[in-house]
């Protein structure tokens, strides 16, 4: 009986590898390619997610894993890297550019670095407070300020 109980709690690496990861917003981030294990205490420290060809792999710490499900792995938080490459639109729907980078301060997003449609125009900073909505695209508030990034 006791053996059965422990068996139900234990899963193998095969049960995790190749599974899709879903963030709290329901987006599928990618497929798990690695499980990281601490050599000393033999505990799982995190997983690596393959986010596709154009995006770099993402490491997610074990404390951010909500549930290792039978079909997908649920995460507790939305990784900031997910926002890289999202379209940036004004409230009126005008396309400004795409998110190039994210500036994080103490685990909170401070600003987004945006590359505009015109390549020669360079990059701009938009503060987090100037953002109205983050979803499939980033929508800026009316009267938002864009600061040109210094080289």
């Amino acid at each position: 009986m006791a053996h059965k109980k422990t068996k139900a709690k234990i899963i193998t690496s095969d049960d995790i590898l190749g599974k899709e990861t879903v963030d709290p917003e329901g987006s599928i981030l990618g497929v798990i390619t690695k499980v990281h294990i601490n050599k000393k205490d033999l505990k799982v420290t995190g997983i690596t997610i393959d986010m596709g060809l154009l995006k770099p792999d993402l490491f997610v710490g074990a404390k951010y894993l909500r549930h290792l499900g039978s079909d997908v792995v649920l995460l507790k938080k939305v990784p900031h890297d997910k926002y890289r490459g999202l379209k940036v639109l004004t409230e009126g729907g005008e396309l400004i550019g795409k998110v190039k980078d994210i500036i994080v301060d103490k685990k909170r997003i401070k600003a987004f670095v945006i590359s505009t449609k015109k390549v020669w125009d360079g990059h701009y900073h938009v503060a987090y407070k100037d953002i109205k909505e983050i979803g499939e695209s980033i929508i800026l508030k009316q009267g938002h300020k864009m600061k040109k990034k210094k080289k």
């Binding site: 329901g26 997908v72 649920l74 639109l89 729907g93 396309l95 909505e133 979803g135 499939e136 695209s137």
Partner: protein
């Protein structure tokens, strides 16, 4: 190079440059509140003389009333809402990460943008079942439920 002059025949308007051309709405991209692409405008509907909304072709054909417009630019229209019909075809997971099925149908109150239940089906061989709105934790890119479904 040379813009043809337009002759005006109207008792109400002397100038037409400040009037909006409805033809410019055709093929405009429509985005939801969160910036999700909904589709492209393919027709405009009027009731008597008054513009009432747009017909959008995306995953589904949708009519969106003009009361749901938030803003517009030359090529896009932004909506105030997340159209509920966009939930059709999205995957449903329970709180333990188990795939429950795919949204097949949405039960709504009349034609409003609020839904009461989602009709979910796991596979063609299995019966569909309804998931009430109160059991849904997140309904964005995919749907995550509050509890475990067996």
């Amino acid at each position: 190079m040379f813009k043809k002059e337009t002759k005006i025949i109207s008792n109400r308007f002397k100038e037409i440059n400040n009037l909006k051309k409805f033809g410019s709405y055709i093929d405009r991209k429509v985005y939801s509140k969160s910036g999700e692409f909904v589709g492209k405008v393919y027709d405009l509907l009027f009731k008597k003389d008054i513009f009432s909304g747009i017909m959008v072709k995306g995953k589904k054909d949708i009519f969106i009333g003009k009361e749901f417009f938030r803003g517009e630019s030359e090529k896009t229209i932004m909506l105030k809402i997340e159209p509920v019909v966009n939930l059709i075809g999205k995957r449903v997971f329970d709180s333990t990460g188990k795939k429950v099925g795919i949204v097949r149908e949405i039960k709504r109150k009349a034609n409003s943008n609020n839904y009461t239940d989602l009709v979910v089906k796991k596979s063609i061989y299995k019966r569909s079942f309804t998931v009430p709105k109160k059991d849904i934790e997140v309904a964005k890119k995919n749907i995550i439920l509050k509890k475990e479904y067996k």
